[in-house]
Amino acid sequence: MSLPPSAPDPALPPGDAPAPIPARQSPALRGALRAAFGLAAFTAAFTALMAFTHEITRERIRAAVAEQQMRLIDEILPRAHYDNALLADMIDADGGSGGAVGRIWRARRGGEPVALVFETFASDGYGGRIELIAALDIRGEGQSQVRGVRVSAHRETPGLGDYIDPAKDRDKEHPWIAQFSGVDAGLPIARWAVRKDGGDFDYRTGATVSARAVTRALGHGLAWVNARKDALFAAPAGARPGADGQTVEPVSQ
């Protein structure tokens, strides 16, 4: 079977002929334009509403988030342990650590290092990113320990994976996250895993993914911080330490 050779369709105008311009806009075109303008107007109006709300709530949200953060830090490092202005004594390791660690706050007492409070992140939670905040007690060589850990933001399934947040943990006596307190900072990275994966840490049946993500992220964050703790304490406040822990650039606020 063969197709007949295609002949130019007489109904179609040649390609270069100008399309006939209607004297008046067709009703369909008018309707489409009206709808388009209507949608654009609504989009503009509601975007303005959202932008306005964002603008008037921004400062309050920032203050509330900072307050919440300080409350979390208080839970893992009591204020009696340090005497410097902790939130101001901050360096940002987000770039230098390749995302393993975020901001680091240095706790000092009488100028001497007491503890490092650092943010770390797991991107592989069941509900996406999990943000953690942990305190590392600085003691003599080889004796530093994890002081405490809290989840500062997560989207794990309510009632299932959200036990990583002690406020949601049903076991109030022994919250899951408490098992990290007192762990030696020199624990090999391979053991920073849940028992199911051959590591040292417990998990709750049915929601292993959340526990696994938190445990691994903590291990990596802690290893980065612990390996360069002296340099991190020495960096000027507001610096961005590089991969070696040395300062590369000051933070522009």
Binding site: G31, R34, A35, G38, L39, F42, T43, F46, T47, L49, M50, T53, H54, I56, T57, R60, I61, A64, E67, Q68, R155, T157, P158, G159, L160, A167, K168, R170, T205, G206
Partner: protein, 227 residues
């Protein structure tokens, strides 16, 4: 607003057209969040707010919404209002936001909000529409509360877990005792379907029995006509 319309609206939202049991709309957040009673009711309350606001806005603006583009405009309105609600909670009720926060964006995905905008608010007055939004939301709240309570009780043996996040003085109830082994399946997504299915079956049974009784009352029973 007369009392009759209020009653009608309440009856529709809470029972006859209940979003969870009769319209079976908005399953995504219902199934995801109903693992505990406190979570479920929290989402329900946030939904009531969002539905009241979105119905109010849609009914108020309906004269200017061209028919062909009404659905995108409704979605735009709902998404914008949910964003505003999210920001406002975050700024002004931060401790409540820490509990409700993760649920608020989910409301946008709840098709009951869009369904009521399209089926009711686009055709009715501002006041009636707002009321409809509140009543439909409350209808969802009680179904969510029951679903959450059942799943939490069967799945974990507790009730009101997480209540201390909202009311710091209160403690959850450990109904079935500390050594209750738990029933994980009920807490997982399939458990949500099972439990909701049982609730819908119960709802249909009650309606069927009611209809049968009504039919019996209106038509004289066959035995009564015999001498």
């Amino acid at each position: 607003m007369n009392l009759q319309r209020l009653k009608e609206s309440a009856r529709n939202g809470l029972w006859r057209q209940n979003p969870g049991l009769a319209q079976i709309l908005g399953l995504c957040p219902i199934l995801a969040i109903s693992t505990s009673m406190v979570n479920a009711v929290s989402l329900g309350i946030a939904t009531v707010l969002a539905m009241a606001l979105s119905n109010l806005a849609v009914a108020g603006l309906r004269r200017w919404i061209a028919y062909e583009i009404r659905i995108p405009v409704f979605i735009l309105i709902i998404a914008a209002l949910v964003t505003v609600l999210d920001l406002a909670f975050n700024a002004f009720l931060h401790s409540l936001y820490l509990v409700l926060g993760i649920f608020i964006p989910l409301i946008t995905t709840n098709c009951i909000v869009l369904a009521r905008a399209e089926a009711y608010a686009a055709k009715n007055s501002v006041l009636d529409s707002t009321l409809d939004g509140i009543m439909m939301g409350l209808g969802l709240v009680w179904v969510l509360a029951l679903l959450g309570a059942l799943r939490e009780l069967i799945g974990g043996g507790t009730l009101f877990s997480g209540i201390d996040m909202i009311f710091p003085g209160l403690a959850p109830l450990n109904v079935l005792g500390g050594d209750y082994p738990g029933f994980l399946l009920i807490l997982l997504p399939p458990g949500a379907f099972f439990t909701l299915g049982i609730l819908i079956a119960g709802y249909n049974a009650i309606n069927a029995r009611r209809a049968a009784r009504q039919a019996a009352a209106t038509s004289p029973p066959a035995s009564a006509s015999a001498p």
